[in-house]
Every structure is written in structure tokens, then in C-alpha cells.
């Protein structure tokens, strides 16, 4: 058995980026999609405002559009009298300019006429006759008006590339008429779960068998992040089956994630097959990460495929997928790194010296403080993941953290 050095998480990430670059995939392809389908997708280009927003001065109250200077001195007992030269209808251009001593009626959302620079609310007015109004309030320049460009100026950066298009962003796109949206094309992912003990979730396992978890949970995690899952397969741990599956997936996938093969012999088989079908093959032979040590990485330049051997245990497979592949996708898309939450550790927490420890935690609130409660349990357990809100990372040089330590929690 050859002995290989394991990589740190940081090294493995750099190697993944380098591999994508080598395969010409560091710049992901973009696609233009109708904006009605863009929710949750990631913007591929900076979006600058093609026009100012609003495009014209808008009233935010019902009342009279005035030149603010004309209202100076007005008060509850001493109105100013202005001449009404127009009534603006909402949705229409305000045609008549306001001169000194003049005003126009404008409803909420309506356009201010040229010359007007403030609004006096209708509550502070009294009609004197058909063309004259008494205003009982002095208003400052800009009062109850949104000026052109006050929301966004023309050319302003509205959304940077890498923005995930949630409802607020979609509202901004709608406001500015960007109804075809450039987004990153999803990375195509094949998920293969191997193991002679596995049966699909809908089957009743015999004694010694278990239901497959990884294809289902990895698919949900991957799709939520933005991957396109080409296929999932559950395979017996046999060399010809896995070889054929890898070769098939290399035709149409950017990434193949193989989980399982947890016994030493089977782990060696997965690595050997990846090295066989892919050229130049393996470039990471393990991670200095708990859980996640048996992770292996390979690349096939010709087909442009990244091959990732994940641990077989669900909690470990999901953690490594999140730390490596979701990270890779979001990095290539330019998504801003997640802001971790600071929480207080509820209990002492041991760690594995010499490697990074990722510990699933629940977040709970107690006496107004955010506490991180480690969800302890072997990585073979799925409930560890189901119950956790996220994880914290303990650096390799530390032996653990004491109760009460402030930790940074990443949600998943």
C-alpha cells in the first residue's frame, strides 16, 4: 500500500480551483433566463442601472407640488395662497411647469411638474376657490418627494455579479426592466453511492443491509446550492459497475461525487478506478479534516471532469460536499462568503489535534445569548446532520475548546 500525504482543507480547495482552471472551467458558462425563472439563481454579471430610478420626481403623499421657497412663513394661522395651474393624474406626465406663486395637485406616486421641488400634504391645505389654495405648512426642499435617481442613479451598481436573486433583488430587476437575466449555468453533477449493504430508500433492507442516504441528501444539498444533478445511482461495490458508471458520467458531468466504499479495500478500489479512468487522475489522497479523512480528488482533463471520492458516512459525506463542492461552486460564481454567527459554546468540545475539526452544532437561544450546542455522535449517524443548524471549525493546532468559548458558526 502506498502512503500518501493528506492535504489540508485550504490546499485541497486551491487544488480544486487550479483543476477547474486547467480544464477551462474556472470561468463558468453563463445563460440568459427569463426573470420569472430567476429566483434563487446567481447573477453572472454586475447589474448597473440602465436608467435612474425613479425616472422622474415622484410625490410620496397626496397634496400640492410647490416650490418650497414659496411656502416659507406659512403656518397653522397664516397660510400662503398659491395659484393651482394643473392637476396631475397618476401615470401621466406633468406637463405644466410651476412658476413662482404657483402649484399643482399631485396624488401619491404622481409626477411632480417641472419647477416643483416639494409637496404640501392635502391635510395642510384648504381650497380657496377653483384656482387658489391656502397652504398651512412651510415645507423644506424635497419634502415628501423622491427625486430622479434617489433610489438608483443611472450607472449605479445595483447588484454585483455573484448575487443570489432573492425577492428584493428580483424587485430591483423588475423596477429597472431587466427581464432577461444573465446567470451562471449550474455545474452538472453526478452522484454515485456505492456499497454492497445499500438498498434504495423505498426498499425494506434485509438483515445486514441499510437504506441508501447519500444520493438523496447530497442531491438536496447540491440542488439547493445551485448544481444541476444529472443523475444519482446506487451501486454494488463491484469494480466493473463503478468503472462503467464513472465513464458514463464523465460524458455529461462537470463533477462526479462518489460516496461509499467505506472499507479499506473498497476505498482503495474507488481511488484506483478514478486514477484509471481519469487522466492525470488523483491529485489529493486524503484530507486533514475530521470528519472527511478518506476524501480523494481526481481530474480528467480531456473530458473536463472533477472526480471526488467522499466518505461513506452520511454526516461526513455531506460535510465534505459542503466544504469542498458547495464552496467551489459559490467561489466560481463569486458569491460572497457566508458571514458566520458568533455563538457561545455550550459545552467543552474536544478536537483532533493536527487536523481541522468540523463539528455540527445546533443554535439555541438562552437568556438572550446565542449558544452553540455540539451535536455529538459518530459520523455514521444521519440524525447528527438532521438536528444540526450548521457547524463550527476548530483549527488543527488546538486540542479543543472550553465551554463558553466564542465560536463562529456557519449555517448550512
Amino acid at each position: 500500500m502506498k502512503l500518501f500525504q493528506v492535504d489540508t482543507l485550504a490546499t485541497a480547495r486551491q487544488k480544486l480551483l487550479a483543476a477547474m482552471e486547467e480544464m477551462g472551467k474556472k470561468a463558468l458558462p453563463q445563460e440568459n433566463i427569463p426573470f420569472s425563472e430567476a429566483a434563487g439563481r446567481i447573477l453572472a454579471k454586475d447589474f448597473r442601472a440602465p436608467e435612474p430610478l425613479p425616472a422622474f420626481a415622484r410625490a410620496t403623499v397626496d397634496g400640492y407640488a410647490v416650490r418650497a421657497v414659496d411656502t416659507q412663513g406659512a403656518g397653522e394661522s397664516l397660510p400662503v395662497f398659491l395659484t393651482i395651474v394643473d392637476e396631475v393624474h397618476i401615470g401621466e406626465a406633468a406637463a405644466t411647469a410651476i412658476g413662482p406663486g404657483e402649484c399643482a395637485y399631485v396624488p401619491t406616486g404622481g409626477m411632480l411638474p417641472p419647477g416643483a421641488d416639494a409637496m404640501v400634504m392635502i391635510e395642510h391645505s384648504e381650497l380657496f376657490d377653483a384656482t387658489h389654495v391656502a397652504l398651512y405648512q412651510a415645507v423644506a426642499y424635497g419634502r415628501d418627494v423622491v427625486f430622479p435617481g434617489e433610489d438608483v442613479r443611472q450607472g449605479d451598481l445595483v447588484l454585483p455579479a455573484g448575487s443570489r436573486l432573492e425577492f428584493g433583488a428580483l424587485g430591483a430587476l423588475a423596477a429597472l426592466g431587466l427581464t432577461t437575466v444573465p446567470v451562471w449555468q449550474p455545474l452538472r453533477l453526478s452522484i454515485i453511492s456505492t456499497g454492497d449493504e445499500l438498498v434504495p430508500a423505498e426498499c425494506k433492507p434485509n438483515c445486514g443491509q441499510i437504506r441508501d442516504i447519500n444520493t438523496y441528501a447530497l442531491r438536496a444539498l447540491a440542488e439547493r446550492a445551485g448544481f444541476f444533478v444529472v443523475r444519482t445511482r446506487v451501486l454494488q461495490d463491484e469494480e466493473p459497475l463503478l468503472r462503467e458508471a464513472l465513464q458514463e458520467a464523465m460524458h455529461d458531468s462537470d463533477i462526479i461525487a462518489v460516496s461509499g466504499g467505506s472499507s479499506q479495500g473498497k476505498k482503495d478500489m474507488t481511488g484506483r478506478l478514478m486514477d484509471e479512468v481519469a487522466s492525470p487522475g488523483l491529485f489529493t489522497h486524503g484530507l486533514a479534516l475530521k470528519p472527511g479523512k478518506p476524501t480523494i480528488l481526481a481530474k480528467d482533463i480531456a473530458s473536463g471532469t472533477l472526480l471526488v471520492g467522499l466518505p461513506g458516512h452520511p454526516a461526513a459525506a455531506l460535510m465534505v460536499f459542503h466544504l469542498l463542492l458547495v464552496w467551489l461552486w459559490e467561489t466560481l460564481c463569486g458569491v460572497a462568503p457566508q458571514l458566520p454567527l458568533t455563538a457561545e459554546l455550550e459545552t467543552n468540545l474536544p478536537a483532533a489535534p493536527g487536523r481541522l475539526t468540523c463539528q455540527p452544532v445546533m443554535l439555541i437561544e438562552k437568556d438572550g445569548k446565542l449558544l452553540a450546542r455540539p451535536v455529538l455522535g459518530k459520523s455514521a449517524l444521519i440524525t447528527t446532520v438532521a438536528r444540526a443548524d450548521g457547524y463550527l471549525i476548530i483549527e488543527g493546532e488546538r486540542e479543543g475548546l472550553p465551554q463558553g468559548a466564542l465560536v463562529q458558526v456557519y449555517r448550512w
Copy 2:
């Protein structure tokens, strides 16, 4: 003009719940869906484990399954010799029981034979002959074994009703074979945006017009939360159009959200029409909330429809939709309330005394601290929402908060 008392947010929420109860909709209908379509849905029933997980004792390493007591005294220089009575294959039942002085080879993930209670890793063993092995390590009971029920015991509560089915939860469902999942049926929502100034996002507005934002942004917010959006409509502010639209939507919607009608006359029209088409009609005539004062609520018992008049300004409409309708949906589904994040206020923040103030904020990290930066701007602006990560709430009796105050931020 009749004067009505405005409701507090808490009162309006209680009235919404009461209205749903009155309409027989407090208990939402459930539906059973294939678990492959369940990602993001909300579980409608407590899910208790129908069987223990794992169902049998599993090895987490390659090695020899032993009775721990038989290894006592073993060490690097002094092995114990055990008789190999079986080799367990992964995925198969371990048939041969282990007696005193006996062991069986078991690969990672394989089943421990009856009688065995610990594993000795293969690294600490040496084959003596075909049926005898030397073990160089003393192991404690349970070492490198997952016992039946250690992940979940039969009958354990795996996921409570109200759980959102993310990848970890889906993994747990797969592990336990729940491939048909009881989830809440989405509330059916119609979204109507009214205003003579509105044009659809794909149109170029004339002077005085603006593109509609609310149908797009509200749809994205609603769908993310779990609503089924029956339709969205953009209408001119005309009484017959809105009346017809309300009556149409009452046939097939649980909730109708009407935004717009921002001028006083139009606001009155929306309320008047809701009171006309719905019986008993309006039950909330405004909210003591900034922004969100012009919010109105009505109900029609016969059709079982809730009618909600939202403010016309996008930031206010989205905020009120989130605070009232997303809240209502998640409360009916039994979703655990969101845990707010504690952050330090970056600047002084004024508030409206006498009513609740909801302030959009960005979350930023500075010197290891989480800061909440108010995104200031009139509620007519959409970029306020697009740039914010969430919001904080200032109680009505406070006049504002000083820089540095600890605030609770809710993400949206």
C-alpha cells in the same frame, strides 16, 4: 371619512389567526408527496422512527468483531489469540454467533455477529493461521461499533411537525424509508398590484409611469416561504376592474394580497371594495407599524378568503407581507420561530414613537463583531430591500436606539 383605530402588529396577527379559525382553515390541509419532491416543504406530522437505526450492530472500521472482555490484557507486546469463526460480508447477515475466545472478520459497515460487542481494527491484528488471529489491542465495550438504535431508537421523534425538509432531514427520511411524506398543502395566494402608473416589468414606462415591482417581488417572497401563487395581476386603479379581480380570486384563493392604491382616494377604494365583496368584510383598518400603516385586513367567511390590502410602496409591501402573511403561514404550519441574530447597531437609529418600527439592515462583520447597518431610505425605494439582509424591530414606546445598542436582527 370614518376614523378607525389602527391595530398593533400583535393584535393584527391574533385577528388573522382568529379569521383562519373562523373559516375552518386553522388546521391546514395536508398532502402526501413523494419524498423526491419534498425538498423545502414543511412536514405536517411528527415523524417517529418506525424502526431503530441502525437496525443491527454495525462496525465502523475494518477488523475483528470480538467480545471486549476477551481482549483484556492485550497489548503491543502481548497479543491475545482468538479463533476466527466467520467472515462477515457487507450487506449480509452475520449468522455465526461469537462465543468466548472467538471472533469474526467484519468490514466497515458490516454487521457484528451475535455475541460480539466491540471491534479491533485490522491494523492491530496479525493472522496466525487460517483460523487464528493475534490481536494487539485491548478494546472497551462498544469500541468502533454503532449499536442498534444508537442513531435513532424505534419510536423516537426524528422530525417534529413543522420541520422544513432540508437535506439533513431528507437523509433521515431516506434512512427510515419514509418515501411518501405528509406535508402541508400550500396556501393559495393571488397577488394584485394596482395603480394607474404601473406597467409590467417588460414594458418601457412613459413619463409618469413606473414598472410594477410588487407582483414580482411578492411572488418570489411568497413562493420561497411555501405559498402557491395562483395568479398575479397588474390592474389600473379602477373600481370595476378591482371588484371583478377580487371576486375572481375569491373562487380559488385562500388569501388575496392587493398592493397599491397609494393615494388616499384609491386606498379608500380598495378598502370599500373589500368591504363590499367580502362578508363580514374589513376587520383591521391600519397597523401601528412603520412602514405599513395603510395595511387593511378583511375576510369572507363564505368563500374562506382572507383579503389583505398592502401598502403600495415595495419595501413596505414586502415588509408587511413578511410580518403578517409569512408569519401566518409558518405559524399554521408549526414552523419554529426564527432565531434572531444579535448584532451591534452601527449608527443611531430614530424610530416612530407610538408604533412599532421595522428597519431594514445589512449585516456586516467588523473586527470579529456582527454589526447591523440600517439601510435608510424612503419606503418607496426598492433598493432598500434589495440591499438589506433582514430587519430589526423597535418597540413603539422607544424613540429610537443609540449606536452600539445590541439589536435582534431577523433575516428574510
